[in-house]
Symmetry: C2
Subunit: 420 residues, 2 copies
């Protein structure tokens, strides 16, 4: 029994979002068993991407062959943890944040697949209390709704996590963007930006012949930069000008926020469709089935799915599996921590469901549940590679999934292909 | 079967919010059976408050004794409806929006308790296509989550609906606010603003001896104005100045939005507590029970509730009802369209649950369900009065509820009272 404070301190989610918005440097990562010290490996601490090392080891030279350390103070849930960034240059050339086990108590395993947020506290802030220590703040966000709120606020997908959060633009892409911008009067729709990203991809990387997994990630990367570019072009003058009414101010913020959310939520499907087309895979995308379901992708076609269902009903379930019949359903979700169950009612009748996701860590417990429900996770190979051997075997790369489709006869009938 | 547009037109909720933010004049109302033409009464159309008539009959004099009409075009779900504002000065001195039955198709009864939003489209907008007609836009929001999103965005409770939406400040209150502001350095917390509103109430209306129902509504009205006043004092300079970074812009908007949401969500309880204290009713507010529930209000005390529960368990349910035992539970929810069921698990053991709400229309179907579940609605008398006779009998005013508490021995033991 106790007394509640009705106007309790600002919730941790809102704190995290505002700190991210105000921070010059931040890092987001989905926590893996290795990060959480659950694999019994020698290395302890949260693994950080190599390119982010300069952020964490500020002012120290990072070289192969030697270890470099930096003491930091990390604020977490109102308390402080004395932690240490370590550059392991001797053995592996990797960067980790160590001595942070207190953050994971009492149950590290529960945090697998949660979003870890690390933000540098700017020096000029009044809450920078520690003159001799560098100060960071961190949060661990467990619920998918809250994870999505963070990603939506920043306008990013999980593909932009596991690296230093970039608010600047990719210099290489800038000339392409300037060229596109010349023909733009109003803010392009999400679909328009996705398609323009594809044409930038074709011009810059079209001859590269890279695999479909890398292609997809690069499309998302270009699109994120292009979106940021248009956002700045379009809104910078408006926000610099200032506002007379608070409601006008809030209305514009809602518009910007909704654009970010929409782009982060919808572009994955558009790029997947592009990759399937380029790979000459036949599919139905964004269709409504005869029983009013809306599966993201059906292979090879809606007709094939519908007639499989008819056969299935007539034979009173005595038909072979949908995989064996050459009918496939793929759902696309940027994150899938809690919402993966939603796909269980999509595309009724199939025995196996494929779920493409950009979430870079999924707990073993969740993979077990997914297996039990006949769900196979598909993700970019570079993400899949980070899982331990046992779980890696249960996940398909996009290339593997496309190969499976091809072997099952889902090739496009248009023999020239869309890009032939 | 058909093709989905992934980036469909902006959702109607977001459209409505942005139009409200940009509109100089707007009106929000929870739809009653009478508004929807379900009562078979002679008058047809949506009843609008008398003080709002000038908004709708712009440029026309409204007087008792004559009827005045104005043709308007109302945009609704992409189409247009030719409607008519009518001032019925001959019989009743009331204002209605008529000829809008098409808005309610196909099932008017389903819309009882939904939020109707009417916003004037500013003349200088490019979408003001009708040179000779005046143009309004309207929306009907059915889900409580979406209704709350609208109210939260505006920072209002249902007490600020059913009237012209005021963005200006109450002139009478301004000197009081200026006096309070002199002692304020940072933005006051929600609880602080609520308490300051109470002291303004005491100075301006303390000798008025008005009933508890009017007292509560006036407290909310003062608080809304005071909140808006602080908001303007505090944020106007910041938004006028403009922003260099989109993320700083979004971060500030999040802060303002969260303040609005918090004030709209939490102040009702604080004002109810004030009214109970002033009425010398003993209650426990914001406590946690021994089984970890968080009922908003228990009468006369947490101890009384806990020992009622023990008696109840020991007698294996063979005790008289909680009402008869003089133990009461009241929940406070500004809106209650879908969420009223949440209170069914609060304060386990009581046979009757009281729900105080500011929602100004509740469907008959919902009142039936609430009756079945042992829930009694309590609301300000001026709202209750608008229900038809049959449903009015199932709703208590705040004065009636307090009288019931008093007769059941829930008076405060402090004989002097808090304001004695």
């Amino acid at each position: 029994m106790g007394q509640l404070d009705l106007f309790a301190d600002e919730a941790q989610l809102e704190q995290a979002i505002r700190a991210l918005a105000g921070s010059s440097d931040a890092y987001l990562k989905f926590l893996s068993p290795n990060d959480l010290g659950l694999t019994g490996s020698h290395q302890a601490g949260i693994y950080l991407s190599r390119e982010s090392a300069p952020l964490f080891l500020e002012g120290k030279t990072v070289e192969k062959g030697e270890n470099v350390e930096r003491e930091v103070r990390i604020r977490f849930r109102g308390g402080n943890v004395a932690a240490r960034f370590v550059w392991y240059g001797k053995a592996k050339s990797e960067c980790r944040l160590t001595r942070i086990l207190p953050l994971f108590r009492p149950d590290p395993a529960r945090l697998e697949g949660s979003l870890f947020i690390l933000a540098a506290v700017p020096d000029d802030r009044p809450d920078s209390l520690f003159e001799n220590d560098s100060l960071f703040q961190c949060w661990i966000i467990e619920s998918e709704d809250e994870i999505r709120a963070v990603l939506d606020f920043l306008g990013i997908t999980p593909a932009e996590t596991n690296q230093r959060l970039r608010f600047d633009l990719n210099e290489r892409l800038l000339p392409e963007f300037e060229r596109l911008n010349a023909s733009v009067n109003e803010f392009p729709s999400g679909g328009e930006i996705a398609r323009r990203s594809q044409s930038v991809y074709e011009r810059l990387y079209g001859t590269l012949e890279e695999g479909v997994d890398d292609m997809l990630l690069r499309l998302i990367e270009i699109e994120y930069s292009l979106f940021r570019y248009f956002e700045r072009k379009h809104y910078q003058p408006l926000i610099e000008e200032g506002f007379q009414r608070i409601d006008d101010f809030l209305s514009l913020s809602l518009e910007i926020h909704n654009r970010r959310k929409s782009r982060a939520g919808n572009s994955l499907e558009i790029h997947l469709k592009y990759v399937f087309d380029r790979s000459r895979i036949a599919c139905a995308h964004g269709v409504i089935t005869s029983d009013q379901r809306r599966p993201d992708f059906l292979f090879p076609s809606l007709d094939a799915y519908e007639s499989y269902r008819v056969r299935h009903r007539e034979a009173e379930n005595n038909v072979s599996s949908s995989d064996a019949e050459g009918v496939f359903f793929l759902a696309a979700k940027t994150t899938c921590k809690d919402r993966w169950r939603q796909i269980l009612t999509e595309a009724p009748g199939v025995n196996r469901r494929y779920l493409f996701t950009l979430q870079q860590a999924i707990s073993k417990a969740q993979l077990d549940e997914m297996s039990d429900e006949g769900v196979t996770v598909v993700m970019p190979e570079s993400y899949r590679r980070k899982f331990d051997a046992q779980n890696r075997g249960r996940i398909m790369s996009l290339a593997e999934f496309i190969e499976k489709l091809r072997q099952s006869g889902c090739e496009s009938h248009d023999s020239a292909g869309l890009f032939g």
